[in-house]
Symmetry: C2
Subunit: 912 residues, 2 copies
């Protein structure tokens, strides 16, 4: 199967691009800047920017993303002439660094690193210490006076290069990496506990074995020519844009595959030349909770990979103040410069080589939802950014993290606390223990909740992390892979819980005298770092407790953030925000969260309640209109009561009530036992029920006898529902509470259907107004959920006073794709990039969106001031909300807990 369906027509224009767009230098002379992310990738652009503002950046150059596109279009070959440009750029670095690439005495070494437009941490490949070979390593040893260091660099280089460029890798996840096998074997032979205990001679032996392994595995020698090394490394990094991890990551974050990655070739500095060296990762603010504090970690005498890989658990950054006070002071100053310059929280990598600080990377730091909200709010207070910028900068979904349930603190004491690790991804997660990404995925597919427990995570684990409730590691710090990815995914994460002994072989966690087996439940609190045995009950979030009046607002810092951001969002947004609520309770919750009305009240949900389902069934089983009317008469007071309660709750805010929608078979039992039970209860023979169930069976119920089709064949249902609505309005108005009601007819496709149903509704309204001498203001409108309805919206608008897009069904019909059945092909479609996004998650703008646009234009022709809403699940999804804003809808309607998200997305849309 072709992985990339776009590959067929070769993009020749890129092959013919000028040299100008291929390589950008940074260092003494810097070609790029921070705005050139598209061409240089984020890392390249920010290295250039840091060089420009005088921060200590080792010199190098960036090979652009356009070269990546050419590489792909060219059958994975580098464009002709590229290596000449690379050589020229290397010469300039040699001059600045006063070393020579491949020199036998004073070799210049390089790192070769990926860097896409959007950061994709750890997803692509990196090569360090490039430029060493059997000769130059000797010169390097002499020059640094540290043979052990030099040979360690060389063996690391061979290991990375062998793995990434030459493909010497374990066959599957159960096998140990072949280079690690050799390393561990040698350590055993030498009696060395740690890597650092290996002598220069031992490392030389290891280098020999590494080279043999490569020869044996791939039939070629490890290359001694440094330019050949470099060419291979550049190609490997470009190739890694399409590795599986990167594909999954791009799908998750909707990064287009055309973007490609840049390659950064930068002269090496060493954090592993001795104890006056260090390397670390730091954040200008706390990325887990957003607090304004210097946050990060470092390792003495190590290379950058060691920090991120979680091989050793690093020191918190504060400790550096003691270890290397000068470097620490420099770093604090760098924090200030970076935030002043970039106006956002920065996540940066540094290396201290013999007490000299070098900056290797900076980027806007990934952060949790809570941190995103806090940082944006506090940066406005600090006058670093405007309210507009703050709103634009908060991913709309972030606000949800302030609303998710948290552990009930009072219940924690009932459970055994196993450990306290680093609080790396806030929130509460319970689940069964699993030890591999694969196990997490299959448990998730079975519908089980799991916590993925790893010694440390690696980029291969990303699918498993997505499938888990939370991630727990025994090793690695707050900038480890696990923490980084978890924060970005909004997953709960506790990392570096060192007291846990995780054993993949026996699939157990040992902690003191407790053994936890695969499948046991644990609970992890990513806000405090606590790990508990068993399941802890959850309680509503602090924000929700403030809203419910259980905590005073002034006592809650999180509520202050929430209300600040909501205030700004309300100020900027143009779209109204309503909620989909079927009960007074839901309506109440939505009002607390700021809903301005109900956009969808589904009457059928009320039908399922235990005190009425039997009347509903009698109505369905009726064989005469009279019997049906009798059953409906029982339902009417119950429905009226429901509506009254909702109207009272909404106090005059608009309430859109949709008439009965689902096919009738959904209300009948379908097992023999249930039919028998019903038969006894309502005194209708089981065979009659069975027959009716069969007669209601449909080939394609989605496209069957439902929606207004029910109201047309059984007009008495529409009359009952309309009467119940208007009687409820009259009652609640008589209590002095205003009511604004909108009656919505589902599944309209034809003008005749709408006229038929509207006539019944108006008739019911007239009757109630006459009987009760009430003055009722109401609107009659319809869902737009069929392509035909969208196409004739101009005609429908002659009768309909409002429209609400039902994008769930509109997507199913426009795409001819049943959501329930799409599971057999849609995941494959997304994996193979046949389509970009799941159209049930985010509006398919090109298809469904085009129909919506036609409908909006046509509707406005007939009725320029028509109220237009959306009440499908897309109404709570940020990109869809932005599309609705661009379309000029009046409001979106979403689940109560999505109301804050919708407000932010609406404000962002208005600011775009």
């Amino acid at each position: 199967m072709p992985k990339n369906v776009d590959a067929i027509p070769v993009k020749c224009s890129i092959l013919g691009m000028s040299d100008h767009n291929k390589i950008y230098e940074f260092g003494v002379k810097t070609d790029g800047n921070a705005k050139m992310r598209d061409l240089l990738g984020g890392k390249g652009a920010n290295l250039a920017e840091m060089a420009r503002i005088g921060l200590p950046v080792p010199p190098g150059f960036t090979i652009t993303t356009e070269v990546c596109s050419a590489f792909k279009a060219n059958g994975e070959r580098l464009p002709d002439g590229l290596m000449d440009l690379v050589k020229a750029a290397i010469k300039k670095v040699e001059q600045q660094q006063n070393k020579r690439f491949g020199d036998l005495h004073n070799p210049l070494l390089f790192s070769v690193r990926s860097g896409a437009r959007e950061s994709m941490p750890g997803m692509m490949d990196t090569i360090l210490n490039l430029g060493l070979n059997d000769q130059s390593v000797q010169g390097f040893a002499e020059k640094t006076g540290n043979p052990r260091f030099a040979y360690d660099c060389y063996r690391r280089f061979i290991q990375m290069y062998g793995d990434v460029v030459m493909g010497v890798q374990a066959k599957d996840e159960h096998e140990e990496e072949p280079f690690d096998v050799l390393l561990n074997q040698l350590k055993k032979e030498e009696g060395a506990a740690n890597d650092v205990d290996l002598s220069a001679e031992a490392l030389q032996k290891l280098i020999g074995r590494y080279k043999e392994l490569i020869k044996k595995s791939v039939g070629r020698e490890f290359p001694q020519d440094v330019y050949a090394q470099l060419e291979g490394a550049i190609g490997a990094v470009f190739k890694s844009w399409n590795n599986e991890r990167a594909l999954i990551y791009r799908q998750r974050y909707n990064i287009p595959s055309e973007w490609g990655t840049a390659v950064n070739v930068q002269s090496m500095v060493f954090g592993n030349m001795g104890n006056n060296c260090a390397t670390g990762v730091a954040f200008t603010r706390n990325p887990a909770n957003g607090k304004h504090e210097f946050y990060g970690e470092y390792l003495i005498n190590a290379q950058g990979e060691d920090v991120v890989a979680g091989i050793r658990t690093p020191q918190p950054i504060k400790a550096l103040e003691q270890d290397m006070p000068d470097a620490y002071r420099q770093l604090v100053e760098v924090c200030r410069i970076l935030e002043d310059h970039f106006c956002d929280m920065q996540d940066f990598e540094f290396t201290i080589e013999q007490e000299k600080l070098y900056m290797l990377q900076t980027r806007n730091g990934k952060r949790t939802g809570l941190a995103a909200v806090r940082i944006a709010a506090e940066m406005v207070e600090e006058k670093r950014i405007t309210q507009e910028e703050a709103i634009k900068r908060i991913p709309a979904d972030s606000i949800s993290s302030l609303l998710v349930p948290v552990f009930d603190e009072s219940r924690k004491k009932d459970l055994k606390q196993l450990a306290v690790g680093l609080a790396a991804g806030p929130g509460a997660a319970c689940g069964k223990v699993v030890f591999s990404a694969k196990a997490a995925e299959s448990a998730h597919a079975r519908g089980e909740k799991v916590v993925l427990c790893r010694i440390e995570t690696s980029p291969e684990d990303i699918r498993g992390m997505l499938a888990s409730e939370g991630i727990l590691t025994s090793r690695g710090g707050v900038s480890s892979h696990a923490a980084l990815v978890a924060r970005q995914m909004g997953k709960v994460c506790v990392c570096g819980a060192g007291s846990l002994h995780i054993d993949y072989g026996t699939k157990t966690i040992q902690v003191a005298d407790t053994t936890i087996k695969e499948g046991d439940y644990i609970s992890i609190d990513g806000t405090t770092g606590e790990v508990f045995l068993g399941e802890i009950a959850t309680v509503p979030s602090e924000v929700n407790r403030v809203l419910a009046g259980e905590i005073e607002a002034k006592e809650s810092d999180v509520y202050r953030l929430f209300s600040t951001i909501m205030g700004w969002a309300d100020h900027f947004r143009k779209l109204g925000i309503r909620t989909n609520s079927d009960s007074p309770k839901q309506a109440h919750q939505a009002l607390l969260l700021g809903a301005e009305g109900i956009g969808l009240c589904r009457t059928e949900h009320m039908f399922f309640e235990s005190d009425r389902i039997d009347f509903v069934r009698q109505m369905i089983l009726a064989t005469t209109v009279e019997d049906r009317i009798a059953a409906l008469a029982h339902l009417k007071p119950l429905q009226r009561g429901d509506f009254e309660a909702i109207f009272r709750e909404m106090k005059g805010l608009p309430v859109t009530i949709r008439l009965l929608d689902p096919p009738l078979h959904e209300f009948l039992p379908n097992t023999a036992d249930a039919i028998e039970a019903l038969s006894k209860k309502i005194h209708i023979p089981a065979e009659a029920i069975q027959q009716r169930v069969q007669s209601l069976h449909e080939q394609n119920p989605m496209l069957g006898h439902r929606g207004c089709r029910l109201g047309i064949t059984y007009p008495e249902i529409t009359t009952m529902q309309a009467s119940a609505i208007f009687e409820a309005v009259a009652q609640v108005q008589s209590e002095g509470i205003p009511v604004e009601v909108e009656v919505m007819i589902p599944l309209i496709g034809f003008v005749g259907e709408l006229k038929h149903q509207a006539a019944l509704i108006h008739e019911a309204a007239q009757k109630v107004m006459m009987e009760q001498k009430a003055d009722i203001h109401y609107k009659v409108g319809t869902m737009l959920e069929l392509p035909r309805a969208a196409l004739i919206a101009d005609q429908l608008a002659e009768t309909a006073q409002f429209f609400s897009f039902g994008t769930n069904d509109l997507t199913q019909t426009t795409l001819g794709m049943s959501r329930d059945d799409s599971g057999t092909f849609l995941p494959e479609y997304i994996r193979d990039e046949v389509i970009r996004r799941n159209p049930f998650a985010s509006i398919d703008v090109e298809g469904v969106g085009q129909l919506m646009q036609i409908a909006v234009q046509n509707a406005h022709k007939t009725r320029p001031d028509i109220k237009l809403g959306i009440c499908g699940e897309h109404g709570g999804e940020p990109d869809s909300i932005k599309f609705c804003h661009r379309l000029g809808l009046t409001y979106v309607s979403c689940a109560p807990n999505r109301v804050p998200v919708a407000k932010i997305a609406a404000a962002q849309a208005a600011l775009e």
Copy 2:
């Protein structure tokens, strides 16, 4: 339930219309003419026209269809002032006739008859002899010197008025009409065998009883005031526009309910004043077979109703030459004048009152398909009309009647001939005997074929006639209701088979010593009038036998008509006509009928054949790609063979082959027994098959894993099918036969899908061309059967070289309506006029058509010369074909036997 959803907004403009549009006179002064059908109805317009050209028309006036609209809008009340205009018009008729309406001595009588824009024979109500009351009947008796006649007129009048205007009717179809009860009772009392045996005195007694019946039934007296009689009659005729018969008829023939009917008030002439009087119905040509001969029938001493009602079987018109030679000669002359003037076959009513001829009506005669074709062709030969007019005048479906199977003459002798009646509707029909319209309907609903056997039919039988294969009556002539309606519906009909004794009570037909019971099979030949016991085998029509070379063309008169009309159609049409054929045999048949290519060859139909279904099942049950490829390898040579045979048949005409479309579950067995059998046959455990069947189950298979979604998740299927196609092309080309193949991908919704599948197809083509050193011309295109595809046709056209509208699925998705499931509501929709036509029968122009238009416009933007076709079932339906012509499609594709229909429709579209 509101019957007419348009009724809500009152059309006030009609209420305010000027007097000018209310009443049009005909007679000495004539206001209207034949072109004013919309306003005067067909009958009124043609009465005016006949009066204009000097034919003997009794004077009267027409109340227009606009009054009908006002009547409906006005709550079924006549507009104010109408009766004043009526009175003025009556005055003028009185002057011409020298009689007075309601006069005690010389009363003027009127008929009051409906007359819509399109003739709806017998569907609405008529009142004759209006103007008689207890006084004037005496004067009428004196004036005519024929008291028996006068009282018979009066009792007929009371009977019709009581039924139609005052609603004195039987409660259901099993009950005898109450007036008939009284009539029969009196006949018994008087010992009278026939109505005519009743004396004037007996009739006076009957009149008294009729009036009592009315008083008792409706609580009001039969009105004595003649203007009150007239007002009631006019209202009743207007009301009858909406009676159930009329509604059904309008639905069947797509007559809009807004049109309304006119009312014709015409002075009475009497065919029942004695034996020098007659009344009849005649046609200027034979309406059953179209032959140019004077055709019709009459009754001596009768009123017009008696002929049509089939109470007596009338005389063939030829007999009039003997009975009344002068009148006959006049009639022949009238025939000539009518055809010269109207240039079409006329169906007219006449009355001879005391040897004087009066014309009561003329209209373009309803005719069978065969007659329509013959009359049009022969009128061109006679230079009465042009070829263009001939084509426009033939209902496209008519040509089908030349192609339907006929009885195998050689087999007739094997069966018992029961009777020979009048050949009133040509063709062959077999079925079970039923005796009521209701029985016909319910048998039809059970899927049984029936022949409706009635003594005579009445307008109430129309639903039952629609549900029958054929209609047989024992009474009534070729212009009886049964014959008339059967001819128009294209139903086989034998009428007036007087030797059959039909008994509704015992549900038997007695003929000589044979008794036929309900449920027995009979066969009727509507071309010869023969009736047989049992089922006769059918053979292809004469045209088909000529095409197949079984009969010489020059020996077949019908073939000459067929080929003449096809020649003209081919000359005028712009649309190409292709066929949907899945086998060489079908393709051959379609070619004989004039198809110009295959627009849809469904590969899955080949999959179901017995020699391959098991390989298909192995393919579906495969658990690895390798196993699937192995099963496909078995299928490939079989598919290749199918394609080769089709290509050989089509000899270079284009062949569009659609790749696998249906969901895979359709190929698997679903009963436990069938699964067990398959398990044994292909050595796969029954549980595994059962599991796969379950895993393939879908909620909404229409919207599920099918079409290109199969080819994307199982690309090896696409590759196999494409390879089989191209290998077949190479093989057939190597035999010296040209091939033009178009590979069509089903259910495309996204550009990514199309690119994915097109790449596989191009790859397969390249491979075959390389391997076989063949030069293959082919196109790759796609169905447009999802709204999304129609919306993005511009983008799809970048890759697709042709499109074919799949309007079956496009209708289902655009309307959100499953054809399989629509039976529970669609009939009700059509009955209540919520929608006008069944969108699965004729393209929903407003909705689906709008999407098609968008797609055509967009497709042309990208690829101005793109080939556009349609291959849904709509491709054989005349109105849909005309729409396709207007859209600018390249071709339509339909079932082989619809090709001639499509050609005529296409020619008509081009001439419109």
